[in-house]
Symmetry: C2
Subunit: 254 residues, 2 copies
């Protein structure tokens, strides 16, 4: 295989409002350019807007609290600004629980889609039905990372596209098994999409062409399967928080 | 801007041995296909091999220990298998300190390049000089992540390419400042490269075309600047380790 990957952003997606038909809008923007095996990377923001997830919130912090299942880490800067790393309903660990106050009207915030995998599957199914092309869909969000500065786009929803290219069982060039390699291709596709979408522009949908091998049934596992359960994660709690819990337990154990 | 990104892997890179001239080998494999603004994503493995970083190691664990600056987290599975998340010389937090035993001859392991930023700059400078094209170079490695299953490729070296697209100071579509957005484009480029290289094949160099705006001076900050210093990281220590330290301190605090 000698993949030549192409990626571009769709022009002509209008500002999205609650109730808008994303399938129809994406299909119109794409025209007849989509082909079997194309993967659409759709910014979660427009999925949220179409699904009416914009809420009035004078206090963004209250909205974050409402979306938080579990506080993973918090830190207060000298300025008084509090950074909260939390696990949200979807199991995703991120700053601010995915509550977004950029590119929304003043006085409102945008929550993540209720079920981004279901959203991705619905968009994929809709486009397949409407256009007759076998496409996959990833719903992407911008997330920070432990240990590394900056953010990259990740897959928080997936429909009809392989999220993990499980290479376990394959062999390396020396013939030995590739035991632990499990590339998260969905996150890599989301990252590729970000390189062509641009955050400040109104081009929230990218098309990635060239990995048709990753496009398949709508029953494929969604992006929820990428989330590592907290009980299996070495970093399920911030270091300061874990230390504090240990300290309290140590005091009690005297 | 309406970026059309293209990415492909170079054919014809031979098995690399210590002392090989990567610039010449990449130039030969690329032929006359490279253009100003292309970004090459070079798998760290071949950089390490060319730099003679393959060492005999009957015990991979010893090699990991030697490369480790700081143990971040360890866990022993019921099987007795020990997973170690460590910070290596480069500040990178990963399993196994980047010590690689796949695609190397039996009885050997491969260490990361001594200075991947210097390697990337040298390859970029060499290709610019040899071919007369203004290319950027990223040296990539496959890393696991906190909170998410699987691995994605990340930038551990960068030469002549912007690693962080600092959008602070730009505004969103509503005219408000994008205050915290700092896309780590180098990691996104590395991820894109992985989608065309394929782990089991011998195609360790990808070309990404379409983001010439990210290619610039060889003096641009390297991938070392992506690494968040431990003292500023909420997850500088595994939760179990931090708890244990806290517990010990609590006991002592009587």
């Amino acid at each position: 295989m000698n993949v030549v990957l192409q990626a571009w952003a769709l022009d002509g997606i209008p500002e999205i409002a609650a109730g808008d038909d994303l399938v129809a809008l994406i299909a119109r923007a794409a025209g007849d350019t989509l082909a079997d095996g194309d993967i659409l990377v759709v910014t979660s923001k427009i999925v949220s807007k179409a699904e009416g997830r914009m809420i009035r919130a004078d206090d963004r912090e209250d909205a974050i609290t409402a979306e938080t299942v579990r506080v993973v880490a918090t830190r207060t800067a000298a300025s008084g600004h509090v950074t909260r790393i939390v696990e949200n309903r979807l199991g995703i660990v991120s700053a601010a629980a995915g509550v977004d106050a950029s590119n929304t009207p003043h006085g409102t915030v945008l929550l993540l889609p209720v079920d981004p995998d279901a959203s991705a599957r619905a968009i994929a199914a809709g486009l397949r039905g409407l256009l007759g092309v076998q496409v996959g869909v990833i719903v992407s969000d911008t997330l920070g990372r432990a240990w590394r500065e900056g953010q990259t786009d990740h897959a928080i929803g997936a429909g009809g596209v392989v999220v993990m290219a499980d290479l376990r069982g394959q062999t390396d060039a020396e013939g030995r098994p590739l035991v632990v390699t499990m590339p998260c291709v969905a996150d890599e596709l989301a990252a590729t999409g970000d390189l062509v979408k641009g955050k400040a522009s109104r081009r929230p949908v990218a098309v990635v062409r060239g990995r048709a091998d990753l496009v398949g049934s709508l029953d494929l596992p969604g992006a929820r399967s990428i989330v590592r359960p907290a009980e299996r994660d070495f970093f399920h709690l911030g270091a300061d928080e874990a230390y504090a819990r240990g300290y309290a337990a140590g005091l009690d154990a005297r």
